[in-house]
Amino acid sequence: MAATDSASHPEPGAYTALDREPLVLNNRSFSWITNRICGIIENKQPFLWWILFIPSVALTGLTAFCFTYLISTGVGVWGQKQPVAWAWDITNFVFWIGIGHAGTLISAILFLTRQRWRTSVNRAAEAMTLFAVMCAGLFPAFHVGRVWMVWFLAPIPNANAIWQNFKSPLLWDVFAVSTYFTVSVIFWYLGLVPDLATLRDRCKPGVKKMLYGMFALGWRGANRHWSHYETAYMLLAALSTPLVLSVHSVVSFDFATSVVPGWHTTIFPPYFVAGAIFGGFAMVLTLMIPVRAIYGLHDLITPKHIDNMSKIILLTGTIVGYAYCMEFFMAYYSANPYELQTFKMRGLYGPSTWAYYWMFFCNVFAPQIFWFRKMRTNLWAVMIVCQFVNAGMWFERYVIIATTLERHLTPGSWRVYTATWVDKMTFLGTFGLFMMLFLLFLRFLPVIAIGEVKAVTPEADPHNGDSHEHGVQENDVMGYEEPASTYPGGVKPAATPA
């Protein structure tokens, strides 16, 4: 698009090479943005929504059934054994927790580092975080043998007067995950307040208006409101930032602080965090690309967003690849034969080498095509790579957990793990739960932060129009007519005043 020779005489609507790509395309107006985002909620959902929603509910039921079966019968319905006492349960936990990383990373760290492109994706990513953490939380809660005693994990007074064991990483996990979840919910909700007010204002009086109104906490958009809001948002962002790093570090401590060769590694915390961001962004893209297409959000979620996120995937994927190689090197360099054998069996001679190669291919090789801009902007390519990454990250956790335990310290106890139908169905069901929650989110809450995204439009810039180089005249924009097909349901919404 950019042409160097047109720098001094730009065509209207064209950008020079030195210009930043606009974050909202086609110079959309405030009202267009409001209408478009609120329209998703206010209009009938497309048929596809129902096609996705109904099976999701069914799958949620499947998970509920599987957990009921597990609790009523015993953990033995899963495939665990000696010495593989953890397998799919904790794999799934770490997998979902990892996915839950991108949300807060986008909303907090990118906010603090003034990455303004985050505004289009942060809301959905944060929602995704919450739902992923919910899915994740199910596994450690229900994987225990006596779930009705799980309250022993909470430091509440009890008749036995026994405290928790604060040396246990599993307890740190409980605190880390619950703190992360709580802060994420608050952060997400705070960001929602101005948008909820917008929805409230656009509603006809009724239950809906009352509910939106209640959750909007009386937001009027006053200067004082905005001022307080922004301070609070900033503080929460600052609070969330260490949490992004801590949660997965703590999760990695479950393994790193143990004595099991293949687990006992200092590289785990950074490696886990990088992996989590990696997997999280893949999931954000997996969700946002279809949402963008279905609800016609092409101007808000632009190729630049996708390009940026692809770059992050490439970076973190490469970090993860480096970690894989470094693990091998350390196994060799440590001169600890137990460690070396563990890695030999992971990659070369063990029973589950297939998982290792899948992991390596999906996480390290697949994202390498993102070196090419063409691939980063090709949505099909991005979607395919993201699916590899999603799968690869699950395999990574499987490799770390199950295949390591399969080859524990005493060879006499070595056994190979096989999953049962309950393992598989429980995991599959959590995708249903995740999808169901996300679809409900799309249905009832603004998928893009309206208030924030407006701030990155040219309109919001006080100097908007000062520079001729920005070129596009208000009139041109106003005159542009969106094709009806880009609206949800193919019907242009009735204009409502902002």
């Binding site: 079966y69 009523s72 019968t73 015993g74 953990v75 033995g76 495939g79 054994k81 000696q82 010495p83 593989v84 006492a85 953890w86 994987h143 225990v144 043998g145 006596r146 005693m149 799980v150 022993f152 994990l153 036995n160 026994i162 928790q164 064991n165 040396k167 246990s168 990483p169 599993l170 307890l171 409980v174 479950d254 602080t257 143990s258 004595v259 099991v260 600890n336 034969p337 137990y338 054998q341 030999k344 069996m345 070369l348 001679y349 063990g350 029973p351 080498t353 297939w354 290792y356 190669y357 335990l405 524990h408 310290l409 005493t410 060879p411 006499g412 106890s413 070595w414 056994r415 190979v416």
Partner: protein
């Protein structure tokens, strides 16, 4: 409702008072009215009775009740507390009684632990002169048979339930017939279990009814050996080997450390000289040579082992005899062996020669043992060799035993065929309809000849179910009896509990035949759990009969002596009559000449070797859950038997190996599935193995085949006892019946077999998937040479030689407290507290499972079923890791070749919780459910455990077990049914509850469990100590070596030592100071309280391949 109190029977001694003449005379009308509320006559008129409120309610109640399930009400019984407590009985406190278990090989003395009259645990009798106090797994587990719900509970008539009335009726007829004909046409079939009283009563029966015939049958026996001994040593001479007197032992397929004890406590005697801590001790060690076709426990313990086809044993025996004959100048022996010895191949001769020289060098201290099932030629040659080695006397003691002359089962079959026998009264523990050899066609014969069979047994086995009358027998813990050990010590069998399901002992049946007892009263039949007559001991004819025998043995009925015998379990000073042995060496050559020529063996036509099973013996323990689930010590197979085939033959037959399964060839496998470089089959790894069909003549057996390292080529070993028809809930569908292949009586090596590999696969439950140590030095061994060169080799193997010091800021609680005044010093208090510790001597441990079963019995460990074992969820707190090793360096990237695997070495390592001082499991438990005690125990709080299983992951020894299901509550076939499991089957059976140790929690599902060092025993010992010491401050310490944990107590070899590390007199402390003492995975700094003593093998450097023995251990890291 009126309660019917169940008063204990009034003692019949002392002064009696009576209310009426009726009571005095126990008249019927008095007894009838005894329980009634109103006396006769004080009743309503007929009209009143019909129209009363009571009858109205009765009718209404009945109509309502009939709609419901009123008739299903459980019978109510009320237990009354003792008004006067039984002497010594304190609830929750154990009382010990001595008794003995009668067994085909002679008695095993036992001490029974009982709680409130319930026997719960068996241990060896340490007072017994010829036993060390250990107890093998069969005897350990026999207590479970007592509580087996599938045990015979009532008399049956052709398999259908009947009452004692019928038994009474039949026996009346039988006695009449006996009296009339003098026993014409009546046979008594007995087993091998020795009992002086039974023998005496049997003799009386035979004397009273002289035409009665006696036959003897046990499927696994030493009849051949007995016959050879009778002809060479003299009739009734029973040799008993003093293994502790032997410096050099050569076994020709004699599993004397396993299933064929050659003395009362072979293991204890053998283990006495099995360890050397210092180089100078090495010369005191005994040396064991073993020739066998498959690995046995004895083979595993051997210093030199030669895999050899079983049909070549006569050749090996001859080669040895020729060599020994030459050295000792025994020309008769040499010439007898010469022809056979000539056929020995060079490798065998080269192996035999230095061994023979060694034996001869130790003349007078050397012994050769022949397996009890080997053929007469081997037996005869061995007698000759032992004679030449001067073993008779110094090493082999001989006793004169009076064996009642009895026919064999073949004789019985012949007699039935010729109509000489019409009625068979069977007492044998064998099951002739199931385990009789094919040629006798026993089942068909009994049907054709309409033979009347009366079966007496604890199990309702096939013979019992098909018998015209089956009488339930008492378990040996339920009845009076007596028995003798191999060396003839008279031992008493005393009841621990009233017969649980009724039942009568063999003694009682014989007494009935002699008219000294009757089967009555029959009224109790109606009650369901019909009780056979039981009476106070003083009146019990069986008791009287035993006392009579005792009087004969002891030379008069001395009450004091009797009481001592009841207390000790055996009569001091008794023993077999020593016999002087003169070997009739001229007869040897005759017996040798009869040896079958060695057949040519190939992979498709190998020899089939039938052996007793390591866990269920001849099949009698098939319904015993503990034994069924105890892994075979060598194959690690549970719940089934299989054809064991050596690696080379396995490969030649085209069967897929499991040895390297799970060792993938990396990327080839990962990408292309089963790559070409792949040796193993993952399905085999899961226990899904191919079946083979064995055809010998018209006898066919289809059986799954597993690869057995250390097994000789062209030979297949199958254990007997499996594949029984409906033996009970545990044994149903377990294994394959190899008796089907046996044609002749005592034929255990079959030739002329044809092997076909079938496509069909069968699911086996094997407890150990991985057989190689992969170069990890969890097990350490060396030879006497290693010990001389490097006495501390065990502590400096691999990584242990250069473990860096611990650099942790957090010191934690380990080691001895250094500064007792410093509150920050968290070390263990060795001054005022017990500090428990354990050592396991790998040089003594054979891998026999006795510890494992003892632990199961002591600690209420449930069985989990075949499916769960296959899934890797065995609950044993102490498991036996069995590894194979080749002399080459072992690593994950090396696949041993099939040929290498034939000469592989086998080691056994018991692993339980190591009670680490710095326990990795403790730090990771989020709820503090597993914590350390001040005494150094890694304690488990079951009710605090929520089951995160993190501890199980972080335990380097994989010692923790998880209750994946409610194993104690759910029926094993309904584990997966969740809340839908059958309500009447759910919950622990009442009868199974009786066996539980009340001082150990019965764990629910969802909690982790593990070895606790028998903390209940430790606490009991401490309480006892406190009681004896009262206020004294010094006497806190339990006396050294006085408390024993269950596994230690069970170990006949004395491999496990346990005790207080803070007590300087503790044996365990001395062993911990040994050169051989090492900690497994020491580099992790877990500081385990359980340590191991490396095995030392007493290698003869002149033997071929001596240099490579135990060489693998030095190459490990």
């Amino acid at each position: 409702m009126k309660r019917i109190w169940q008063h204990p029977e009034e003692p019949k001694t002392g002064r009696r008072y009576w209310r009426s003449m009726g009571e005095l005379e126990q008249r019927e009308d008095f007894l009838k009215n005894l329980g009634r509320e109103f006396p006769d006559g004080d009743e309503l008129s007929d009209e009143e009775r019909e129209n009363s409120r009571r009858s109205f309610l009765k009718i209404m109640g009945a109509s309502v009740g009939m709609m419901g399930l009123a008739s299903c009400r459980r019978p109510l019984t009320h237990i009354l507390p003792f008004t006067q407590s039984v002497e010594w009985m304190v609830p929750g406190k154990s009382v010990y009684y001595a008794t003995a278990m009668p067994r085909p090989n002679g008695a095993t003395p036992i001490v029974v632990t009982t709680y409130e009259g319930r026997p719960t645990h068996l241990a060896g009798n340490p007072l017994h002169p010829s036993f060390g106090g250990g107890l093998d797994s069969f005897a350990q587990a026999s207590i479970l048979d007592l509580y087996d719900p599938d045990r015979s509970q009532y008399p049956t008539k052709l398999g259908k339930r009947t009452g004692w009335k019928w038994v009474h009726h039949i026996f009346k007829g039988l006695k009449h017939k006996l009296a009339e004909t003098g026993g014409e046409g009546i046979a008594i079939l007995v087993g091998n279990e020795p009992s002086p009283t039974v023998a005496r009563l049997r003799a009386e029966v035979l004397k009273k009814f002289p035409k009665t015939k006696l036959f003897r049958f046990e499927a696994i026996n030493n009849d051949v050996q007995k016959a050879v001994n009778a002809s060479l040593l003299g009739t009734g001479v029973q040799p008993v080997v003093k293994l502790d007197a032997a410096k050099c032992i050569f076994s020709l397929d004699c599993d004397f450390l396993g299933l064929e004890p050659v003395s009362d406590d072979s293991v204890a005697q053998f283990s006495k000289h099995r360890s050397a801590d210092k180089p100078e001790d090495a010369d005191k060690m005994n040396r064991l040579y073993v020739v066998e076709n498959r690995y046995t426990l004895t083979g595993g313990a051997a210093d030199h082992r030669k895999p050899l086809a079983a049909s070549l044993l006569p050749v090996a025996a001859a080669a040895l005899a020729a060599e020994v004959g030459k050295l000792s100048g025994d020309a008769a022996l040499s010439s007898a062996a010469a022809t056979l010895a000539a056929s020995a191949d060079a490798a065998l001769t080269a192996w035999i020669k230095p061994a023979a020289e060694d034996l001869f060098h130790q003349k007078g201290k050397a012994v050769v043992l022949a397996g009890s099932r080997t053929d007469a030629a081997v037996q005869a040659l061995v007698v000759g060799i032992n004679n030449a080695l001067g073993a008779y006397g110094p090493v082999i003691e001989a006793y004169q035993v009076e064996d009642q002359a009895a026919g064999t089962l073949a004789d019985l079959a012949e007699a039935i065929k010729t109509d000489k026998i019409k009625t068979v009264l069977s007492f044998t523990a064998a099951d002739p309809l199931y385990d009789a050899p094919a040629s006798l066609n026993f089942k068909k014969l009994l049907v054709e000849k309409r033979t009347v069979t009366i079966h007496h047994g604890v199990r309702r086995n096939l013979t019992g179910r098909n018998a015209d009358l089956h009488i339930p027998a008492t378990h040996y813990l339920e009845a009076w009896g007596d028995t003798t050990t191999q060396n003839g010590v008279y031992s008493l069998v005393q009841p621990m509990i009233q017969p649980l399901f009724g039942g009568v002992s063999e003694i009682e049946v014989l007494l009935v035949l002699l008219g000294k007892k009757t089967f009555s009263p029959p009224e109790t039949d109606k009650a369901g759990a019909a009780a056979a007559p039981t009476a106070a001991p003083a009146e019990d004819p069986a008791y009287a009969a035993v006392r009579e025998t005792f009087a004969q043995v002891a030379g008069g009925l001395d009450e004091v002596k009797w009481n001592y015998t009841v207390r000790d379990g055996f009569l001091k000073g008794t023993g077999g009559k020593a016999a002087t042995v003169t070997v009739n060496s001229t007869a040897i050559s005759g017996l040798v000449a009869k040896a079958k020529p060695a057949p040519a063996l190939t992979a498709t036509s190998p020899e089939i070797v039938l052996v007793p099973d390591n866990t269920i013996y001849d099949g009698r323990f098939i319904n015993n859950g503990w034994l069924q689930e105890a892994p075979d010590p060598v194959s690690k197979l549970t719940w089934d038997n299989a054809a064991l085939i050596g690696s080379a033959t396995y490969k030649a037959l085209g069967l897929k190996s499991s040895m390297n399964a799970g060792k993938s060839d990396g990327i080839v496998d990962a990408v292309f599935g089963s790559g070409k470089g792949k040796v193993g089959d993952p399905q085999v790894l899961e226990g899904l193995v191919q079946k083979i069909r064995i055809t010998i003549g018209d006898r066919v057996l289809e059986i799954p085949a597993i690869e057995a390292p250390g097994h000789v080529s062209n030979s297949i070993t199958i254990s007997l006892g499996y594949g029984q028809d409906r033996p009970g809930n545990v044994g149903n569908h377990a294994g394959f019946n190899a008796y089907l292949l046996q044609n002749e009586l005592n034929e255990f090596v079959l030739t002329g077999a044809k092997i076909e590999v079938l496509d069909e696969r069968y699911q086996l439950a094997i407890t150990q998937e991985h057989n190689s140590m992969e170069g990890r030095s969890v097990y350490r061994e060396g030879t006497t040479e290693t010990l001389k060169k490097d006495p501390t080799f065990a502590q400096t193997t691999g990584i242990d030689s250069h473990i860096p010091p611990s650099m942790s800021f957090y010191q934690g609680q380990f080691g001895e407290k250094k500064d007792y005044n410093d509150p920050k010093d968290e070390g263990f208090d060795f001054k005022t507290t017990h500090q428990w510790g354990m050592t396991i001597d790998l040089g003594k441990c054979l891998g026999c499972n006795a510890c494992s079963i003892a632990c199961q019995s002591e600690n209420n460990i449930p069985i989990v079923g075949k499916d769960q074992v296959q899934k890797g969820r065995l609950m044993n707190w102490i498991r036996m890791d069995r590894y194979f090793a080749t002399p080459e360096k072992d690593d994950v990237d090396r696949h041993p070749q099939a040929e290498e695997l034939e000469n592989v070495e086998m080691v056994q390592q018991p692993v339980a919780c190591q009670q680490c001082e710095s326990a990795p499991c403790e730090t990771v438990c989020p709820v503090n459910a597993t914590v350390h005690t001040k005494e150094g125990l890694n304690a488990m709080a079951y009710n605090r455990c929520i089951g995160t299983r993190y501890c199980a992951n972080n335990c380097p020894y994989t010692a923790r077990r998880f209750n994946w299901f409610d194993y104690n509550k759910r029926p094993l076939d309904e584990l997966y049914w969740g809340p839908l499991s059958t309500p009447e089957k759910t919950g622990m059976r009442e009868i199974s509850k009786l066996q539980k140790n009340p001082n150990v929690t019965v764990r629910m599902r969802g909690v982790i469990e593990k070895c606790t060092y028998c903390v209940q025993r430790l606490e009991a010992a401490k309480i006892k100590q406190k009681q004896t010491q009262r206020d004294s401050k010094d006497g806190w310490q339990v006396p050294a070596n006085s408390v024993k944990v269950a596994c230690q107590q069970a170990c006949s070899a004395g491999a496990i030592e346990f005790g207080d590390l803070s007590n300087k007199d503790s044996n365990v402390l001395k062993l911990k100071a040994s050169n051989r003492n090492y900690e497994v995975l020491k580099y992790l700094n877990t500081r385990p309280r359980t340590s191991y003593l490396a095995r030392i093998r007493n290698v003869n450097p002149k033997m071929p391949g001596a240099a490579s023995i135990a060489a693998w251990s030095g190459k490990n890291f």
